[in-house]
Subunit: 110 residues, 2 copies
Amino acid sequence: MGYQETSYKDKKVISIGVVSELTGLSERQIRYYEERGLIFPERSDRGNRKYSFSDVESLMEIANKIEDGVQTFEIRQEIKRGNKKEDQRSIRKKMLKGQLNAQFGIQQNE
Amino acid sequence: MGYQETSYKDKKVISIGVVSELTGLSERQIRYYEERGLIFPERSDRGNRKYSFSDVESLMEIANKIEDGVQTFEIRQEIKRGNKKEDQRSIRKKMLKGQLNAQFGIQQNE
DNA sequence: CGTGTAAGGAATTCTGACACG
DNA sequence: CGTGTAAGGAATTCTGACACG
């Protein structure tokens, strides 16, 4: 029992409407990120998108990056490289951080 | 990281259509088991049912019991008692099993 | 580039009911 | 009792496109 804990996280069962609620993103944004190759939902028999909890988490990370001004193609690169801890994004983000905090005190995940 | 592994299992995010696919049960059956107090999906803003992976598992167990001839009110009892390993149902089931198999393996209302 | 929106259609879900048994 | 189904409506999702910037 419990050997499948992880499978729940990766099972594609959530509709786009619920993903929208969970992430706070619009359906338009979610579909767009798929179009740009950032997430890969499955499809039901009739073509409806189905997402996993992993996808939901990825989307939240993607949303953060977009806010930081990272473009979708860059994010796609990171994904292909295996999303290293210290990649371009993180570096650029850190450089931005000082400015942002100084100007409006925006909070970033470090 | 990982402290939320369990929450995935109980988060209500799956639509009835997907639950139907996952369990092999008809939507009619799934709604009926709710009506009988065996499962408790949440509702989206507009009233659509949302289930968790736990619900999906419960449904599969319920389906097995129904096949064994257990009635919904009995299953509800078990749920209220905390679903002990060796409850009345299991015991009766074992007693019935021999007869049923011997005769035809038919499912009965006791 | 990233995202909003109106557009029209197809599929989903909901409830209450009749049916069989 | 448990489950199928037809019924009508309301909400969901899909795609391709125009718009702004």
